[in-house]
C-alpha cells in the first residue's frame, strides 16, 4: 500500500511538472519582445523576391494561425494545450514545409534516446563497479589513480569532453569522421554498423564524464557503508569479501545512487544536447539547432516541449525504480 501511495504521488508530481514546464514554454515567447511572425516574414522577404502587400498580409495571417498566435492569451493557451495534449500535434515545420513537426521529432528522438540510454547505462555500470572497488580498498595505488582520474573528469561539461575528443580523434589523429555520416539502407547491418561507428565518439564523450560522477559518488557511499554494523556482522558470519561487496555494500548503495541519477537527468540532457550539435548527431539537439537557425517557430516549440516531456518521463521512470530496491518503501 505504501508503494501505491508512493507511485501516485510521483505520478501527480510528474503531471504537474510537465504542465508547468509546458506552460513556461508557452509563456516565454509571449513575454519576450519578439514576434516570430515578423521574424519569419523578414526572412522570407530578405531571401526571396518581392511580394505584393496583399500577399504579405495573407502570409502574415497564415503564419499567425500556424504559430497559434491568434486570439487572446487565454485562447492561445487553451489552443496550445489542446493541440499538444489532445492531438499531439505541433503543426507544420516551416523550415521543411510541409513536413509536420511531429514527423521530424519522431525521426530525431530515437537517436537521442538511444545515445543517452546507452551511454548513461555504460557510464553507470562501469562507474559504479569501479567506484565500489575504489571505495572498498581506497589505499591501493590503482584506487587512488582511478579516483584522481574521476575527479578530473567529473566537473567537465559534456561539450568540453566532446570538443576534446573531436580535437584528438578527428583532427589530430584522423580516426573518426568529420561529420555524422551513416551509410547503407536503414535497418541493414551496414547501416547499423555505420551508425554505431559514428556514435562512438558522442557516446564516449558522455560516458567519460558520467563515469566520473558514478565513481566518485559510489566511492563515497561504499567507504561509508563498509563501516556499518551489518557489514561487521556479515564479516563475523564469515561472508566472503565478494559477497559483502555485492549483497551488503552494493545493494545498499544502489538506493542513493538511483536518487542521484534521477536528479542528474536534466543535466545529462543539457550536456547531451550540445554534444549532439557539436558532433552533428541527428538527434533532438541538431534538430533544435536547425529550428533556431531557420527561425522555425513551430519546430522550436516542438523540440523544446518534447525535451521537457522526455526528461520528466525519464525522471519519473528512475523514480519508480527506487522502491524496487528499497523494501522499506514497498513493505510497511
Amino acid at each position: 500500500m505504501h508503494f501505491v501511495r508512493f507511485l501516485a504521488s510521483r505520478l501527480i508530481t510528474y503531471v504537474l511538472v510537465i504542465w508547468i514546464g509546458v506552460t513556461i514554454v508557452f509563456f516565454v515567447p509571449r513575454f519576450l519582445p519578439s514576434d516570430p511572425v515578423e521574424a519569419m516574414l523578414g526572412r522570407v522577404m530578405s531571401q526571396g523576391a518581392y511580394m505584393q502587400p496583399e500577399q504579405v498580409e495573407a502570409m502574415r495571417s497564415t503564419l499567425t494561425q500556424a504559430f497559434g498566435l491568434e486570439g487572446t492569451l487565454f485562447e492561445q493557451y487553451l489552443g496550445f494545450m489542446q493541440r499538444i495534449f489532445l492531438n499531439g500535434n505541433f503543426g507544420p515545420s516551416l523550415a521543411m514545409f510541409p513536413t509536420p513537426v511531429n514527423e521530424l521529432i519522431g525521426r530525431a528522438l530515437p537517436w537521442t534516446v538511444g545515445l543517452l540510454l546507452n551511454s548513461t547505462l555504460i557510464a553507470w555500470l562501469v562507474g559504479n563497479v569501479v567506484g565500489l572497488l575504489v571505495g572498498y580498498r581506497p589505499n591501493r595505488r590503482l584506487s587512488k589513480l582511478l579516483e584522481t582520474i574521476a575527479i578530473f573528469v567529473y566537473p567537465i561539461p559534456y561539450y568540453i569532453s566532446a570538443l576534446i575528443l573531436i580535437i584528438l580523434f578527428v583532427h589530430v589523429t584522423k580516426i573518426f569522421p568529420l561529420s555524422f555520416n551513416v551509410r547503407g539502407a536503414p535497418g541493414s547491418f551496414e547501416w547499423i554498423g555505420s551508425a554505431i561507428y559514428n556514435s562512438i565518439l558522442p557516446a564516449l564523450s558522455i560516458v567519460l564524464v558520467g563515469f566520473g560522477w558514478w565513481v566518485l559518488s559510489m566511492k563515497a557511499l561504499s567507504s561509508g557503508l563498509k563501516e556499518e554494523d551489518f557489514v561487521y556482522f556479515a564479516k563475523l558470519k564469515g561472508v566472503s569479501e565478494g559477497g559483502i561487496m555485492r549483497r551488503y555494500v552494493l545493494r545498499n548503495a544502489m538506493l542513493p545512487q538511483i536518487t542521484f541519477l534521477a536528479l542528474q537527468i536534466g543535466t545529462i540532457f543539457n550536456g547531451a544536447l550540445i554534444a549532439e550539435i557539436l558532433f552533428g548527431y541527428p538527434g533532438l539537439g541538431t534538430l533544435t539547432q536547425t529550428a533556431v537557425l531557420q527561425s522555425d517557430y513551430n519546430l522550436l516549440m516542438g523540440t523544446i516541449t518534447i525535451s521537457i516531456v522526455a526528461v520528466a518521463t525519464a525522471t519519473l521512470l528512475v523514480d519508480i525504480l527506487y522502491p524496487l530496491f528499497d523494501p522499506r518503501v514497498q513493505h510497511k
Binding site: E228, D229, Y232, L236, G238, R247
Partner: protein, 329 residues
C-alpha cells in the same frame, strides 16, 4: 573446550597500544553458562572477539596461549585461534547486540540465515536450509512468516530473538552472546534470557554471556567472571560469587544492585576505570578501592584460587594464599 592462558591482546593505535585484554587466564567448559561482567571499556567486548577468533588489525595477540578443542568427525580436534575462523557458526557462533543494526536492511531475513551457512557445510541447497530453519523457528515458537520479512518490519525484541535463532540454528558447541538484553525492555529481556537458557539446556552446549548487568548474570549463569580494566579480577561459580564476593569491586557491584524489599539508598561506584593506554602499576582498581593498601599500588596481585574453582586477584587475600601455601608445606 577453550583455554586461555595469560593472554594479552592489544590494539595498535597512533597514540600507542591499548592494552584491552591484559593477562587473562581462564577456561570455558562444556555444558555450562559462563558470564563475563564488567563496566564499559573493561575489555569484555575485546575478550569476546578473541574467544570468537576475530582477529582484525589493529588488534593483535601479544603473548599468551589460546587452545580450543572441537568435536570433530573422528574425535576431538585441537584448534588454534586462527583456525576458529574455518569453523564459524558450526563450532562457535556470535549473537551480537540487537540494538545495533546488524541485519542488512535491504535483504529478507531468510537470506540473513543463508549468509551464515559456511561454504563447506554439507547442505548447500537453499530449499532444504529454509525448511530446516523454519522448523527450528517453530521449535523456538517464533513465527515462520518472519523469514520472508525485512528487518525494518520487526520489533526490537523480535530482532534479538532472530539473532539468537541465527546464532544457534546450526547447533554450535559454543555460543557467544554480546549484551543480549541491552536496550530491550524488561519483559522482553526475560523472554530472551529464557530462550537462551532453554536452548542451552536442550543442546547441552556452552553459552558465554557478556553483560554489564549483574542481574542478568545472577539469573542465568553457572560461572561468572568479573572483568576490570583488561583483567579478570574474580572468577567462580555464580552462587559463590554472589554469596561470598572476594574482590572489593565485585562487592561494590553487588551492593549496587537493587533488591526487593530493601529500602536503603543505593550507592554507585565513584571514579572511573583507568586508561588502557597507560595502565597504572600495581592493582588497577587501587584508585577506587575502599580497602586499598600500600602494596596495591606497586605490586600486581596474582590471580589465585582461594576456594575450589573460585579465583581472585586481590592483595586482601594474600594472607589466605600464604596460609594455604603454608598448609601445603
Amino acid at each position: 573446550m577453550l583455554k586461555l592462558t595469560d593472554l594479552r591482546a592489544y590494539y595498535k593505535t597512533p597514540k600507542g597500544e591499548i592494552q584491552a585484554v591484559d593477562g587473562v587466564s581462564f577456561d570455558i567448559r562444556e555444558n555450562e553458562i559462563l558470564g563475563i561482567a564488567g563496566e564499559s571499556g573493561c575489555g569484555k567486548s575485546t575478550l569476546l572477539k578473541l574467544l570468537y577468533g576475530y582477529l582484525q588489525p589493529p588488534l593483535r595477540i601479544v603473548s599468551g596461549s589460546f587452545e580450543a578443542e572441537m568435536q570433530g568427525d573422528g574425535g576431538k580436534v585441537r584448534l588454534g585461534i586462527e583456525d576458529l575462523r574455518k569453523h564459524w557458526w558450526k563450532f562457535i557462533s556470535y549473537v551480537p547486540q540487537g540494538s545495533m543494526s546488524v541485519l542488512n536492511p535491504v535483504v529478507r531475513i531468510e537470506n540473513q540465515f543463508f549468509d551464515a551457512v559456511p561454504k563447506d557445510y554439507e547442505i548447500q541447497d537453499r530449499t532444504i536450509i529454509r525448511d530446516r530453519v523454519a522448523g527450528y523457528l517453530k521449535e523456538l515458537e517464533l513465527p515462520v512468516e518472519v523469514l520472508k520479512a525485512y528487518p525494518h518490519q520487526l520489533s526490537g525484541g523480535m530482532k534479538q530473538r532472530i539473532l539468537v535463532a541465527l546464532g544457534t540454528f546450526l547447533h554450535p558447541e559454543i555460543v557467544l552472546a554480546d549484551e543480549p538484553t541491552t536496550a530491550l525492555d524488561v519483559v522482553v529481556q526475560k523472554g530472551i534470557l529464557l530462550m537462551l537458557t532453554e536452548l542451552q539446556k536442550r543442546m547441552k552446549n556452552t553459552l558465554v554471556i557478556v553483560s554489564h548487568d549483574l542481574g542478568v548474570h545472577y539469573q542465568v549463569t553457572h560461572r561468572l567472571a568479573i572483568m576490570y580494566a583488561g583483567k579478570i579480577v574474580e572468577l567462580g561459580p555464580t552462587e559463590a560469587i554472589f554469596s561470598r564476593p572476594l574482590h572489593p569491586y565485585t562487592q561494590m557491584l553487588i551492593q549496587a544492585l537493587p533488591r526487593v524489599g530493601d529500602q536503603s539508598v543505593r550507592s554507585g561506584i565513584s571514579g572511573r576505570p583507568p586508561s588502557l593506554l597507560r595502565p597504572p602499576e600495581g592493582c588497577r582498581f587501587a584508585a577506587r578501592c575502599p580497602f586499598v593498601m600500600d602494596r596495591c599500588r606497586t605490586i600486581e596481585p596474582a590471580f589465585v584460587e582461594i576456594e575450589p574453582d573460585h579465583f581472585v586477584a586481590c592483595h586482601l587475600h594474600d594472607a589466605d594464599i600464604a596460609l594455604s601455601k603454608g598448609a601445603a608445606l
